[in-house]
C-alpha cells in the first residue's frame, strides 16, 4: 500500500543497460567476461560470418540482374546470428523470422541449399513452393520460415512445452525483429511462455527499422527488453554487434531455460545496414551517413576481426583466399542452381493434406488434360516432366 498518489513514470526508470564484452575496436572490456573459446572455434565463427556476407553480396547482385526473384541480406546482423547459433546446441529447435540465414549456415546448411531454395528448383526440399529465403530443415532442427510476422512466436512456445513434457534436454530459440514484436502474437507468446513455463529463448534483433518505420515509431517504452520483465521473463539487452556478448548471453539463457524450465528474452541491439529487401530502397527514409557509420565504425565482422588480429589468428592473406574460395563456391552453385530444372508442376498439388482428397485429385486431372491440349502456352521446358 501507499499513500502517495504517484504514477509510475516510464521515463524515470533507468534504461536497461546493454551488455558488452568487447569495444568497437575488438578490445576486451572485462577479462572475466571473455568466453574461453578454442582458437579454431573462434576462426570458424569468423569464417562463417564472412561466408554469409560474401554469399549475400553475390545473391543481392543476382537479384538485381533478375536471376532470382527476391532476396534479403543480413548485413550488419551477422554477430546476432552466429553468436547465438554457436551458443545453442545444434539440436535446439529454431523458429526464425527471415533474417537468420546465418543460423542455418552454422548448422551445416550449404550455399547450394540456399541457392536451390532461392531458385525454387527441383533440389529445394519444398519444391519451390515459397519465396526465396523461406528456408527450413528438419535435419537441422530449423522450422520452415513463413512470411506472416510473429506467427512463429506462440508456435515456438508450444514446441518448447512439448519438449519439456518429453523430457528432452533441448530448448527452443525463436528469432524476431523489433517490428514483429508489435504483433499480437508476440504478446501471446511472451505471456504463454511465462505462465506455462516453457524452456524458450526469445531472441529479438532490434536493428532500428521495420522496413521504413524507425524504432521510435514502433514503441515508446525502453525497447523490447523492458517488456520482458512485465511478463515475468528473465531478460537481458546485449550489444548485437559484439559476437562474444551475444554468445555469452545466449549460452547463459540456454542454461537457465533448461535448468529452470522458464523463458528468457534477449534483445540484441544492432543496425540493419542493408536495405530491408531487394524490393526496398532504404535511401528513401534514412541517410547514407547513418548507414555508413554503422557499416564502418560499428561493424560486427570488423570488430571480431580486430579481436582475432589481437590473437594473431587471422590476416589479410587468409582473408583474401577465403573470400575467393567462397565467391567461387557461390558462383558454382548459382550456375548449377540455374541449370537445374524446376520441379514437375504436379508437385503443386502435393502436401496440401497428408493424403489428397478426391476433389483435389480431380483438379489435378483437369490440369493434366488442359496442359496436354494447350502445352505451347506453358513454360513446360523449365520444369521437370
Amino acid at each position: 500500500w501507499t499513500q502517495n498518489l504517484e504514477f509510475l513514470q516510464p521515463e524515470k526508470n533507468p534504461t536497461i543497460p546493454t551488455y558488452r564484452v568487447m569495444d568497437v575496436h575488438g578490445n576486451i572490456l572485462d577479462p572475466k567476461q571473455e568466453p574461453k573459446l578454442e582458437d579454431s572455434f573462434l576462426v570458424d565463427l569468423y569464417k562463417a560470418m564472412v561466408k554469409l556476407s560474401v554469399t549475400e553480396k553475390i545473391l543481392y547482385e543476382s537479384q538485381r540482374q533478375g536471376r532470382i526473384s527476391f532476396y534479403m541480406t543480413s548485413f550488419g546482423e551477422e554477430a546476432t546470428q552466429f553468436g547465438s547459433a554457436a551458443a545453442l546446441s545444434n539440436k535446439d529447435l529454431v523458429y526464425a523470422q527471415y533474417r537468420e540465414t546465418g543460423v542455418l549456415l552454422w548448422r551445416g546448411f550449404t550455399i547450394e541449399n540456399i541457392i536451390d531454395q532461392c531458385y525454387g528448383n527441383d533440389n529445394d526440399v519444398a519444391k519451390g513452393k515459397q519465396m526465396p529465403l523461406h528456408y527450413g530443415s528438419k535435419a537441422l532442427h530449423f522450422v520452415t520460415i513463413s512470411s506472416p510476422l510473429a506467427t512463429q512466436m506462440p508456435q515456438a512456445v508450444g514446441s518448447a512445452y512439448a519438449l519439456k513434457r518429453a523430457k528432452e534436454s533441448q530448448c527452443v530459440a525463436v528469432y524476431f525483429g523489433e517490428g514483429a514484436a508489435s504483433e499480437g502474437d508476440a504478446h501471446a507468446a511472451f505471456n504463454f511462455a511465462a505462465v506455462l513455463q516453457a524452456p524458450i529463448i526469445f531472441f529479438c534483433r532490434n536493428n532500428g527499422y521495420a522496413i521504413s518505420t524507425p524504432a521510435y515509431e514502433q514503441y515508446s517504452g525502453d525497447g523490447i527488453a523492458s517488456k520482458g520483465v512485465g511478463y515475468g521473463i528473465a531478460t537481458i539487452r546485449v550489444d548485437g554487434n559484439d559476437i562474444l556478448a551475444v554468445y555469452n548471453a545466449t549460452k547463459a539463457a540456454r542454461e537457465y531455460s533448461l535448468s529452470d524450465s522458464r523463458p528468457t528474452l534477449i534483445e540484441a541491439m544492432t543496425y540493419r545496414v542493408g536495405h530491408h529487401s531487394t524490393s526496398d530502397d532504404s535511401s528513401a527514409y534514412r541517410t547514407e551517413e547513418e548507414v555508413k557509420h554503422w557499416q564502418e565504425q560499428n561493424n560486427p565482422i570488423y570488430r571480431f576481426r580486430k579481436y582475432l588480429d589481437g590473437k594473431q589468428l587471422w590476416d589479410n592473406a587468409l582473408q583474401k583466399d577465403y573470400e575467393k574460395q567462397i565467391r567461387s563456391e557461390v558462383m558454382g552453385a548459382l550456375k548449377k542452381g540455374e541449370k537445374t530444372k524446376k520441379p514437375a508442376w504436379i508437385e503443386m498439388f502435393k502436401d496440401v493434406y497428408s493424403k489428397a482428397p478426391s476433389s483435389l485429385e480431380k483438379q489435378k486431372k483437369y490440369l493434366t488434360q488442359h496442359i496436354q491440349k494447350f502445352a505451347e502456352h506453358y513454360p513446360l521446358n523449365s520444369f521437370k516432366e
Binding site: P148, P154, S159, Y161, A162, A166, D185, F192
Partner: protein, 373 residues
C-alpha cells in the same frame, strides 16, 4: 424442456455475460427449442453403451485420447476446472495439470501454441470457448496451420492439432454466442472442418479428428451439449472424416444439413411424409471440408431435387459451394433449381432469433415448393 432449462442455467452460470445475469431470464419461455432431437441409430461400434449427452460423449472421447496417447494435451480458456460447457470435467484430476490446463485468455496464442505442440510431435487438443471468438486465431489457422505441410514440402506439419469450438444457435446467444463460421474456413485448403449432430457422431468424429494427420477444426453445436442424448458405445471408435451420413432415406427430395439443422430437417422429412406424402432423403454432411461429394451426387441423381439448409448466412455460406458443385455434376438429373434455406445476411440477432433461423416451417415450405416446380 427440462434439459433445455438446465442448458440455460449452465450458460448463465458459466458465462459472465451481463445481459444474461438477471435472476429470471425474461426469455426463458420464449425460446422453446426450435428442433426435436432425432436420436442416432447408426451406431458404429459394439460393446457396452451408456446413455450420454453430447458434452459427456466429448469428455469420453477426450478421456480416451489422453489415455491412449501420452503426448496428448488438452488446453484452452477455463478447461482446467471442467470447461464452461463441462466438456473437460474430471480430466485434469485424472491426467494432471501438465496435460489438461488453462491458458491465458488469448485465442491467437491458443492456436499458435497448439500448432507448435503439433510441430514437435505432440497431440494438441485446443479449445476456443465459442466459435464466435475463433477469429483472433484466423491468421494462425489460415496462414499457418493450413499451409504448414505444403509450404515446407512436408519437412514439418501440424497434423496433430485439433481445435474444438462450440458453435451455432442457442436461443439467446445473439451476435457472439451463436455464429456458425464454417464457411470462412471452408475456403482454406489444408484444413479439415467437422460438425457432429449428436453424441455418437461427436465422439467418433472428434476421435477421428484427434487421430487424423491434418489440422482439424471441430465445431460443436452448443445447443446439443445437454439436449442431445444417445446410447453411446463407451469404448474407442471413430467415425470416418470426409463421409456424409444418410440419416433418413427417401426418394423425392434430397435435403442436406449439418449440426443441429439435421434435426430440423428430420422433422421436416417427417411432416412432409405424414402430411404431404413427400419422401425426403436427409443427409448429414458431417465433414464440411473435404466434403463427401459421392454420397451427395448419388442421392441427387436419385431424387432430382435438392434443398441445402444451414444456420449461417446465405451469401457465400457453404450451401453455395454445394449448390454449384451439384449443379455442375448433376445438371441432367435436376428437376428444379437447388434451394438454400439458411440464416439471413444479417448479424445473428438477439430477440429476433426465432425469425432468423431456418425453421422447420421455412424448410417445409421449400420442400412443398420444390416438388411443385
Amino acid at each position: 424442456m427440462t434439459a433445455w432449462k438446465s442448458s440455460l442455467t449452465l450458460f448463465l452460470r458459466y458465462n459472465n455475460v451481463s445481459l444474461l445475469n438477471c435472476k429470471k431470464p425474461h426469455f426463458s419461455r420464449r425460446n422453446a427449442a426450435h428442433f426435436t432431437y432425432h436420436p442416432d441409430t447408426n451406431v458404429p461400434a459394439d460393446g457396452e453403451k451408456h446413455k450420454l449427452n453430447m458434452y459427456q460423449a466429448i469428455t469420453n472421447a477426450l478421456d480416451l485420447a489422453l489415455e491412449k496417447d501420452p503426448t496428448a494435451v488438452v488446453f484452452g480458456e477455463d478447461v482446467g476446472f471442467g470447461g464452461v460447457f463441462r466438456c473437460t470435467m474430471g480430466l485434469q484430476q485424472k491426467y494432471g495439470k501438465d496435460r489438461v490446463f488453462n491458458t491465458p485468455l488469448c485465442e491467437q496464442g491458443i492456436v499458435g501454441f497448439g500448432i507448435g505442440l503439433a510441430v514437435s510431435g505432440a497431440t494438441a487438443i485446443s479449445e476456443i470457448q465459442f466459435a464466435d471468438y475463433i477469429f483472433p486465431a484466423f491468421d494462425q489457422l489460415v496462414n499457418e496451420a493450413a499451409k504448414y505441410r505444403y509450404r515446407c514440402g512436408n519437412e514439418f506439419n501440424c497434423g496433430k492439432l485439433t481445435v474444438r469450438a462450440p458453435c451455432g444457435a442457442v436461443g439467446h446467444g445473439a451476435h457472439y454466442h451463436s455464429q456458425s463460421p464454417e464457411a470462412y474456413f471452408a475456403h482454406t485448403p489444408g484444413l479439415k472442418i467437422v460438425m457432429p449432430r449428436g453424441p455418437i457422431k461427436a465422439k467418433g468424429l472428434l476421435l477421428a479428428c484427434i487421430e487424423d494427420e491434418d489440422p482439424c477444426i471441430f465445431f460443436e453445436p452448443k445447443v446439443l451439449y445437454r439436449s442431445a442424448v444417445d446410447e453411446v458405445p463407451i469404448g474407442h471408435f471413430t467415425v470416418p472424416l470426409g463421409q456424409a451420413d444418410v440419416v433418413i432415406p427417401g426418394s423425392d427430395v434430397t435435403v442436406i444439413g449439418w449440426g443441429t439443422q439435421v434435426h430440423v430437417l428430420c422433422e421436416v422429412a417427417q411432416m412432409a411424409k405424414e402430411q404431404h406424402n413427400i419422401s425426403c432423403e436427409v443427409i448429414d454432411l458431417m465433414t464440411i471440408l473435404p466434403w463427401d461429394s459421392e454420397t451427395i451426387f448419388k442421392s441427387v441423381k436419385k431424387t432430382g431435387r435438392v434443398i441445402i439448409s444451414h444456420e449461417a448466412p446465405l451469401t457465400c455460406g457453404f450451401g453455395a459451394e454445394l449448390a454449384t458443385t451439384i449443379q455442375e455434376e448433376c445438371f441432367l438429373n435436376l428437376e428444379a433449381p437447388i434451394t438454400r434455406v439458411t440464416g439471413f445476411d444479417t448479424p445473428f440477432p438477439h430477440i429476433f432469433e426465432p425469425f432468423y433461423i431456418p425453421t422447420k416451417w421455412r424448410c417445409l415450405e421449400a420442400v412443398l415448393d420444390i416438388v411443385k416446380f
